[in-house]
């Protein structure tokens, strides 16, 4: 018992102990046959330079004078135990050092591969974007994750600019937004304006403070606060029919972290213009249900046991997919992992968002199978913090978006053509 407890405090004491161990050994020899004097104990305590904790004292010190002295055997045994502990600590330290060395090596290797990838992207791929983007080599390199320095550029290229937005156009919408803010501030007590509060202006302000709060860069006074405000404000002037919808602030924030202001806006507007994003941000419930139904087809195909476990527990995909799709995982996954999801999302399109969802479910399948409704719901709406990107990506790689020889697009369009009859009753169409 003593040993066990000792091991717990050992980490913190090891260094100090190793330094003083020689002292202790000497005093142990001197005193093993004679009764200790209080004076000796006190000076030795001072030598230790730290207040010995109970078990240190048990091993290194003789018993108090009112108790019988340790026998020679006992003292020897204590010394031996103590030596073993010191040796154990040294072993652990060595191991730790080796682990650190391996970790550093791994990091250097990673940094090397990022540096190499950056050269390839800069010299070979980006100058020949159109003819290279779909080659096998580029697609493979893309899957590994984009080097942060070119990430924004590749995203921009991959998202495209179907809407033909220019930086000048952005400036125009931005100045319109600024005009509206001015009017809003001047007539803040006017009741007519109050009606508009929730729809955009006030809400954007409120939500910016709730966007990546832990990063402290988008909040008032932070370096990106005004930028985020501008991009979202300009968008509501550009697309008043869509307006500001919660979740957008996260997407704009991730883009701002990787692109210049006008480019971020262009990517933002084009990204939201994609069919899946439009369906969600317009909260087209019917269409959203079709996306969920298509998702469930691939869910059943890939993870049949978990699928039926979710069905038994009445756990419908909207409960977790809404958050994941609206924010493109930027709220639910660690930011570095989310960026890697975005990388491949830019390469593969909406299908990859649902494939990622299945990857997450696969990654946690074993724990999810043990849970009931509320625990699954809580787990999926608040995923564990320390998710390793590589384990997620190997789970995504193991997820195949083929069902009965049909690809995502085919399954989805079959569902939209079928009309509403199968989806009407809450449980989405699953079997074709």
């Amino acid at each position: 018992l003593c040993m066990l407890w000792w091991l717990n405090v050992f980490k913190t004491l090891t260094l100090a102990l190793v330094n003083v161990s020689r002292d202790c050994e000497c005093s142990l020899k001197e005193r093993s046959s004679t009764r200790p004097q209080a004076q000796v104990s006190v000076t030795r305590r001072k030598n230790l330079e730290f207040e010995p904790l109970s078990t240190t004292a048990l091993i290194l010190e003789d018993r108090p004078p009112n108790l019988p002295a340790k026998s020679v055997e006992e003292a020897l045994r204590h010394k031996q135990e103590y030596d073993e502990m010191v040796a154990g600590a040294k072993r652990r330290e060595m191991k730790e050092a080796q682990r650190k060395k391996r970790q550093m090596k791994e990091r250097f290797k990673q940094e090397d591969s990022i540096a190499n990838a950056m050269i390839i992207w800069n010299n070979d791929i980006l100058p020949n974007w159109n003819c290279m983007r779909n080659t096998r080599r580029v697609r493979e390199l893309w899957w590994q994750g984009l080097p942060p320095s070119i990430r924004g550029r590749v995203w921009s290229l991959a998202i495209g600019n179907e809407l033909n937005i220019t930086p000048e156009l952005y400036e125009i919408f931005l100045s319109r937004a600024k005009e509206r803010w001015r009017c809003f501030n001047e007539t803040i007590l006017d009741n007519d304006v109050q009606a508009d509060r929730e729809s955009s202006l006030d809400l954007i302000k409120l939500d910016i403070s709730r966007t990546f709060p832990s990063l402290f860069i988008f909040q008032k006074g932070g370096p990106y606060h005004d930028l985020l405000h501008s991009v979202l404000g300009a968008y509501t002037c550009y697309r008043p029919d869509v307006g500001y919808v919660q979740g957008m602030s996260f997407i704009a924030a991730v883009l701002i972290l990787n692109l210049e202001e006008a480019d971020a806006f262009i990517a933002f507007a084009n990204l939201l213009n994609k069919p899946c994003q439009m369906a969600f941000f317009r909260v087209d419930h019917e269409l959203m249900l079709k996306y969920f139904a298509a998702f469930e087809v691939f869910f059943e195909e890939n993870l049949p046991r978990l699928f039926s476990h979710f069905q038994i527990n009445n756990l419908t995909p909207d409960l977790y997919l809404i958050d994941w799709i609206f924010t493109l995982y930027s709220k639910s996954l660690p930011l570095d992992v989310a960026c890697r999801v975005w990388d491949v999302f830019c390469r593969d399109g909406e299908e990859f968002l649902f494939r990622t969802a299945l990857g997450i479910l696969r990654l946690y399948q074993d724990v999810l199978l043990q849970m009931d409704f509320i625990h699954i719901a809580q787990f999926l709406t608040r995923l564990p913090e320390g998710m390793a990107p590589d384990s997620l990506f190997s789970c995504i790689a193991a997820t195949h978006m083929i069902s009965n020889n049909r690809k995502w697009g085919q399954v989805f369009s079959a569902l939209t053509k079928d009309g509403n009859k199968e989806i009407a009753n809450h449980s989405p169409a699953l079997r074709s």
């Binding site: 509060r197 409120l206 979740g247 909260v283 909207d318 409960l319 609206f326 849970m371 625990h375 709406t381």
Partner: protein, 212 residues
């Protein structure tokens, strides 16, 4: 842990009124000054005791933005209790109560107990809605009313627990058909064991769940 009943709650109200903070204070007894934005729905659970019976609350915390109403509507189904929250420092959140109430009444079962909550009572200096106004609204619409502060935890326990008490009383009075899960009440294994008239399968199903 075994429980006698499981009640489903839904928390509704405008965005930014403190729905998620109320839930966090109730389940974790802590306050987060800057809470993440809720997109879609989030969940909480806690066990409480009423009349010596263990009751598990399963709480659905919804997104408040107007745009998400159509999604939120689908979550009323099977709720036994609703916390309708406004912010006493923002008049507009109080003005929107009528539409929230219409939604709630239309999409839930008629016996759902609704607790009206005026949150942020700690911000007295910024108050825009008088307590009397909240009380009057509640009286007029047959709701229970409380002012709370998710920050100081004032009345937070009471808000959740009093709602449960009201539901529990309705069960005792026989208002709720507890065998119909659409009412937002499930019978737990604890209850099933002592109540021989209930089918074993119901208890068995619940037994699979852990504690909260």
């Amino acid at each position: 842990m075994a429980y006698a009943y499981l009640f489903k709650y839904i928390i509704i109200g405008d965005t930014g009124v403190g729905k998620s903070c109320l839930l966090l204070q109730f389940t974790d007894k802590r306050f987060q000054p800057v809470h993440d934005l809720t997109i879609g729905v989030e969940f909480g659970a806690r066990m409480i005791t009423i009349d010596g019976k263990q009751i598990k609350l399963q709480i659905w915390d919804t997104a408040g933005q107007e745009s998400f109403r159509s999604i939120t509507r689908s979550y009323y189904r099977g709720a036994a209790g609703a916390l309708l929250v406004y912010d006493i420092t923002r008049r507009d959140t109080f003005n929107h109560l009528t539409t929230w109430l219409e939604d709630a009444r239309q999409h839930s079962n008629s016996n759902m107990v609704i607790m009206l909550i005026g949150n942020k009572s700690d911000l007295e200096s910024r108050r825009e809605v008088k307590k009397e106004e909240g009380e009057a609204f509640a009286r007029e619409h047959g709701l229970i009313f409380m002012e709370t502060s998710a920050k100081t935890a004032s009345n937070v326990e009471e808000a959740f627990i009093n709602t449960a008490k009201e539901i529990y009383e309705k069960i005792q009075e026989g208002v709720f058909d507890i065998n119909n899960e659409a009412n937002g009440i499930k019978i737990g294994p604890q209850h099933a064991a002592t109540n021989s008239t209930l089918s074993g399968s119901q208890g068995g199903q619940q037994a699979g769940g852990g504690c909260c």
